[in-house]
Each structure stands twice: as C-alpha cells, then as structure tokens.
C-alpha cells in the first residue's frame, strides 16, 4: 500500500507534480539531444579523418615522421599487401609514395605534401574520390594528372586543366621539376587536406624524379566490426622492422577531441543533474512541509521511520519513472530523425567546415548512454529526495500534529 499511497500523493498537487515532471522531460530530452550532437560532431570529425586522411592504420619507416622522403621507404619485398589483405577485419590496404614538394602556379607557390597513390588500390582505403566537386579523380588520358583541394586551388588561382609545376628534391639532393595538370578539385573538411596536400599517381612521381617506384606508406582500412587491437598485432608481426601506428596514435588531435567531447558531456550532465537535485529538493520539501501534520499523525499511530522515509523516496521515484522514459523517448525520436536525415548546420555555422567538421551531422546516442542517463537521473533524484525525507522522519509526532 506504501507504493499506492506514494503514487496518490504524487497527484495531490497535480500542477506542482506536472511542472517538475515537464521540467524533467524537457531537461532529459534536451540533454539527450545535446549529448547526441556532441557525439555526432566527434564522430563526424573522426570519421573524416579515417575516411580521407589516415585510414585506421599506417606503416612507415621509423624515420619517416621526421622527413617525408622516399629515402625512408618500405623495401619492395616488405610491402606484402597480399598478406595484409588476408588478415581478418582488414577491408582495404594500399601503398603510397609521399614526398614534400613546392607547388607553383603562374600566380604563386606553396609547400605541399604530395601523396602518390596507386590508382587501383587507393579507393579500397580512402574516399577522397567522393569529395571531388569539379573535374574527376586521377583518371583520364591527361599526362601527370593532379587533384587538389578547393582552398589550395583558390590560393594558386587554378582551374581544371590548369598547369602546375611540382618541384621535388630527388634522392641525390638535386632539384627536379615536373608539370602536372589539374584533373580534379575536391572539397575536404580537413584543412590539412584542403590546403596542404595534393594527390597524384605514384608512378608519375617516380617518373618525374627519374627513379623507380618506391613506397613509404602503407595504409590499412578496417571493417567496422574489426577488432583493432588484434589486427594491429597481426600487422605488427608482418612489419617487424617498421613502425605500425593506429590512427588515434598518429593524430594527436584525436585524443584531444575525444577528451574535449567527454568534458563537454560531463559539464552538460553535471549542470542537468544539479538542476535536477534542486528541482527535486524543492518539490519534495514542499510536499513534506505542507503535510507535516499528516506525517506526525502517521508516526503517532505507528508508521515507522523506514516506511515514512521510503514513502517520500517512492514519490520521488515516481516522478522519475514518469518523466525519464518520456524524456528519453522524445530524445530518441528526435535523434532518430536527425540520425536518419542528418542535421544541416551549414546555415548556422559557416566556420565549422574550415576547422574540419562536417556541416551535416548525424547525432546518435549509444544504448549505454541512454541507460547511463536513466540510471543517473534516478540516482540523482533519489539523492535529492534524501534531504526532504530526513526532514520528514525527524519530525516529532506531537509537535507535528500541533503545527498550525
């Protein structure tokens, strides 16, 4: 009957209960949306990095980091792409030849990272092809095709078919130059990719430098379900003398981004929980104070403190039981809508693209996050009810009964 009394007590002050319930619903709803969007921003950023820049794993000569140079190459017999492909969880693998070069147009010049790709294998790992907004990928009949980001194209003032000169240093330290033609222009979220890198075919680099085709990077893309650690182990076994790195180790901003999103989430959750505590303390304290006489009567006739305390907690529990699922459900519906249709931020946030985020985001919340929120709400609400409940059981029956 205690559950039943508590339930009816909730509805004694209908308006007051509805107000706190609505507030909790809106709060929970807003919180799920906010966390969903934080997830989406983080994921879209990380996704972009994996899809267009780093893939999931990279293999280099240990000294490659210091200097993008073909002298730190992976020896022919060592590349062993077929072996990598056999590893369970590997979706695609490709070898690249990366050099630094000076790129010049008739207008200006700029230092860039030249990524020489294998036209056939590259698409199994990188999706840069999808980013092309003008012209096409490294296909066609043109000699020495090159693709570059729209920012760089703008800076160099080049269009499709414009001529560009790449100046490299060959292995002997001699400077060689080669002419390339703009075959395509892409638009990437990452500033590195949009301004600082260009793509050409690896064999065109080799020919321009007048050397044999060398590779200094192997990039591996995993299946979504792959176990990153186990693949990492297998890859490391194949490349014992080289450096195998996971994407999160390569780009320091990834850890930073992850911890940032964790911090933002924590701040939001903390603010919400604080508001919840205050709301519950306020509501339940009113509920206790306005029935002091009744509580005095109950304790006088023999309702013990555990029962009185539980009754107050049950009342609070019901507030959560009504509002929490509704709020989470609204959140779920809204997130489902946006995760299906995407949420286009381009009209709100022009600058986002420039710092590497997508303007269309797909907010989501993991099941554990829903569950964690629900648990947090109940725990917080019950904590908030402790004070009013203690207040209730500390009443002295006679004094309470005589309260005016």
């Amino acid at each position: 009957m205690l559950f039943f009394i508590a339930w009816r007590n909730v509805w004694r002050q209908r308006i007051r209960s509805l107000v706190i319930i609505m507030a909790m619903i809106v709060g929970v709803w807003g919180l799920t949306l906010a966390i969903g969007f934080i997830n989406a921003f983080t994921d879209s950023y990380l996704d972009n990095i994996v899809k267009y820049e780093l893939a999931h794993m990279q293999v280099h000569h240990p000294k490659f980091k210091d200097d993008f140079d073909l002298k730190y190459d992976l020896k022919e017999g060592d590349v062993q792409l077929d072996k990598i492909k056999q590893i369970e969880g590997v979706k695609g693998v490709t070898a690249r030849s990366i050099v630094s070069a000076m790129i010049s147009s008739s207008k200006t010049a700029s230092g860039v990272k030249v990524i020489g790709i294998d036209r056939k294998e590259e698409p199994t790992v990188s999706n840069v092809e999808d980013l092309i907004i003008e012209g096409e990928y490294l296909d066609g009949k043109m000699r020495n095709p090159i693709i570059l980001g729209e920012k760089l194209a703008e800076k160099l003032n080049v269009k499709i078919r414009s001529k560009l000169v790449l100046t490299f240093q060959n292995e002997l330290g001699d400077i060689t130059a080669a002419a390339f033609r703009v075959n395509g222009i892409y638009k990437a979220q990452s500033p590195k990719l949009n301004e600082g890198s260009v793509f050409v075919r690896a064999r065109d680099i080799a020919r321009s430098i007048g050397a044999e085709n060398k590779v200094n990077e192997v990039a591996i893309l995993l299946e979504p379900t792959a176990n990153e650690d186990s693949v990492y182990k297998d890859v490391s076994n194949i490349y014992q003398q080289y450096l195998v790195e996971k994407w999160s180790d390569i780009a320091p901003e990834i850890e930073m981004l992850r911890s940032q999103s964790k911090i933002s989430t924590t701040i939001l959750v903390t603010i919400f929980m604080l508001a919840l505590v205050f709301g519950i303390v306020n509501t339940m304290l009113m509920a206790v104070l306005e029935r002091i006489r009744e509580l005095g009567m109950l304790m006088a006739i023999g309702m013990n403190k555990i029962r009185v305390f539980s009754m107050i907690l049950f009342e609070t529990f019901y507030l959560g039981l009504i509002s929490c699922p509704i709020g989470l459900f609204f959140g779920y519906l809204t997130l489902s809508y946006f995760s299906y249709n995407g949420f286009d931020l381009s009209s709100y946030a022009k600058g986002l693209e420039d710092i590497g985020y997508s303007t269309v985001v797909y907010p989501t919340l993991a099941f554990q996050q829903y569950a964690g929120l629900a648990a947090g709400i109940f725990i917080t609400a019950l904590l908030g009810a402790m004070y009013p409940a203690f207040k209730a059981i500390r009443l002295k029956p006679v004094e309470a009964l005589n309260k005016i």
């Binding site: 009957m1 009816r8 004694r12 304790m299 006088a300 006739i301 309702m303 006679v398």
Partner: protein
Amino acid sequence: MAIIEVIDVKKVYNPDEIPVEALRGVNLQIEPGEFTAIVGPSGSGKSTLLNIIGGLDSPTRGKILIGGRDISEMKESQLIDFRLNNIGFVFQSYNLIPVLTAIENVAFIMELQNVSKKERNQRAMELLEEVGIAEQYNRRPSQLSGGQQQRVAVARALASRPKFILADEPTANLDSVSTSNLLDMMAEMNEKEKATFIFSTHDQRVIDKAKRIITLEDGIIVSDVVKSNLTHVSE
C-alpha cells in the same frame, strides 16, 4: 491488573527558558474496559497527560507502565512499534490519510502490522459497519463529514487491536448531534468490543457519557469519580 499505571509523573516544558509545569505529580491507574474522561479547563494538562500515556511525549519525571512495561525507558523507534501494536489514537483532527478511502485508512494500520490482505479488508469492513459508516467505505476523508471522519478514526484505532484507545478532544470540531452520536458509538464499542477508551474533553455532554471522570487542574488530579456507584476513588 491495571493496563496503565501513571506513577508520579511530572512534565515541565521549556525547562531552560520559561519553565511551564504542565503536570505536577500525577498518579493514575486505568483498568481494562474503562470508558474514562479526562476533564478540566483549557491548559490544565489533559493533552500533556494523554500524550505521555500514549508514548508521544516523555515525562520529565515519573514512570508510565503499560501492561507492566515502562515506556519512558523506550527509544523512539521502539516506541513507534509499541504504539502501533498497543495503543489506538483518535486525534481532534487530521486523523486520516487524505489519499486513502475510509476502508483503506482502516486497513492501512493493519498493513503496518503485517496482517494479511484478506483479513485486513474483512476486518476493516466489519469495523466500518460497527461504527456505522459502511455505506461510505469507498469515500475519501474530504468526502466525509467531520463526524464520519471521527468514526473512521475510531474504526482505525480499533483495527489494530490495541490495549486501549486514547482520544484527545475527539469531539472538539463536531456539532452537538455528531458529538452525541460519536460518544454513543464509542460507548457501544466499549461494551461490545470490550475496548478501553480514555478521552479528554471539556464538553459537559461528553462528560456525562463517561463511566469514570478524572478532573485535572493545573497539572494535578483534583477528583476521580467512578460513575456507576458514584464513589470517589481518590481525592
């Protein structure tokens, strides 16, 4: 043997500030089956005495033995259980749980005693019949008159099968017809259920219905009359 023994009880309120001596040495025995009124002017100490007998307040000095047990020694949590199982209460007002119906209010106290659901519902209904409001069993307190509410309170007090029932001015908020009806009903319960009632009042019509009349003045018993043979028990 007496079910209640009040031995030299004194009660001083606010001992540190302006002390009020509400009871100044009260000695009293109540036997099972009594129908006793505690009377006296306002401020004479009636409520104080009933609260102390009921274990709701503790005496500054003296002892209260209930069924031979000294309740002034008990801890607060012990007292709550003791009250539940030994004492029935009828207050002047705010007796009932507003969110429960009449029958639920009566059954509630039996639930606190862990009586089975079947038994408590049956007994609650029987008691409502006995106190004469069986028809209103499904109404909430707000849908009952003051007199009806007090009847439910008496039924609730009886429901826990207490050793005795304390009622502090149970008729103070009632009109004269309801007052007289309530007292008749209580007298009937006293006869039929062998329930012991101790009630306080300053209403002469209520006093007339009592079988024993204990008069308090300034915290002291000034007369104690048993009506059936009209002998003074003590003076």
